[in-house]
């Protein structure tokens, strides 16, 4: 399946998903948060695509654009095809629907993103800190994170 065919199938499945203009080395689609769960479900279950593996999920903090970019890396063993799904949410109200009902691992990847970047997941079954203590304040991977403990590397 070529990349063009892939995008064709995806827009057919979910009209709100569109090819991303961001530079990336994988085929990338952008989708609004509301349509994320529906798109993911179809990406996994559609026999033409069957993206069975959620390889990675993380988020990028774009401080200047005031956005969180949620990245989902998918792989389809059947077609040997990679796909990256991007979702943008505003930085002041970062809420994304959870996809842990589709891939079990998403539950834990989402917990990691919540822990380090403070993105909240709607309907998440067990949203709590993963690496840091429950009483930790702030989200360290945010670009705006301030902590007196951190030592700067001398130039």
């Amino acid at each position: 399946m070529t990349t063009e065919e892939l995008f064709q199938v995806i827009t057919e499945l979910e009209p709100s998903a569109k090819q991303s203009e961001k530079t990336s080395d994988r085929p990338t689609v952008e989708v609004p948060p509301e349509a994320l769960v529906a798109l993911m479900q179809k990406l996994r279950d559609d026999p033409r695509l069957s993206f069975n593996m959620l390889l990675a999920h993380t988020a990028v903090d774009w401080l200047e654009e005031r956005l969180f970019e949620m990245v989902y890396q998918l792989y389809s063993p059947q077609n040997q095809q990679y796909l990256a799904v991007l979702v943008y949410v505003p930085r002041n109200n970062p809420v994304v629907p959870t996809i842990s009902s589709i891939w079990r691992i998403a539950e834990f990847q989402e917990r990691e993103v919540y822990d380090l970047l403070g993105v909240l997941y709607d309907e998440h079954p067990d949203l709590r800190r993963l690496f840091l203590e429950d009483d930790w304040t702030g989200f360290p991977l945010r670009k705006s994170y301030q902590d007196d403990f951190i030592l700067e590397r001398p130039k």
Binding site: E133, Y145, I150, L151, R153
Partner: protein, 219 residues
Amino acid sequence: MGLVKKEEYAFDTMPGVDVVLTKIDYVVNWARSNSLWPLTFGTSCCAIEMLMATGGPRHDLARFGAEVTRPSPRQADLLILAGTIVKRMAPRLRTLYDQMAEPRYVIATGACTISGGPFLYHSYSTIRGADEIIPVDVYVPGCPPRPESLLHGLLTLQKLIKEGQTIRKPGVRHKPVISEIPEGVSREDITAEMVELLEHDSVVNIEETLGNLERPTGI
């Protein structure tokens, strides 16, 4: 040595007591230094090189009688800190140390445990040196140190135990601290003070320690 301190007044009027007590002290220290059972504890990379490879056939920690790794801190004498200590682990490490029975010794291996190592800068969670949490007797540098270094560290610790020079009090450091010496103080003064501190700290009254510390239970 608690034994010595407690019995001192009862015996010191008798002639020849010094010799006897020194001999007892020697035997006790000999036993302690030759039977260092490490705790099965390793946090990261250094654990492979320190406890596992050093305990392995080529380097064979058993030659020094230190291969009996005890998984329970109550039965261990030696805490080999192998790997980074992070903020979340620090209170647990303190608990582990508190759960160990006296006499207990600590060897800090690897750059991370000594200073934070490669995770020193820009890290929001790495503790910069395990000796901020528990007293450390011997430092073994490297990232990770070679097994031979740990063997050398172990022999150094044995030597320290035989000389009665181990550290029992948190906050006291064998680590050389390079900083500006204030005016009016000479290097010799500092050395003398450190020697005094070390001598003072190597004497621990077991009765007192038992009475003062409430020890946490459970793992």
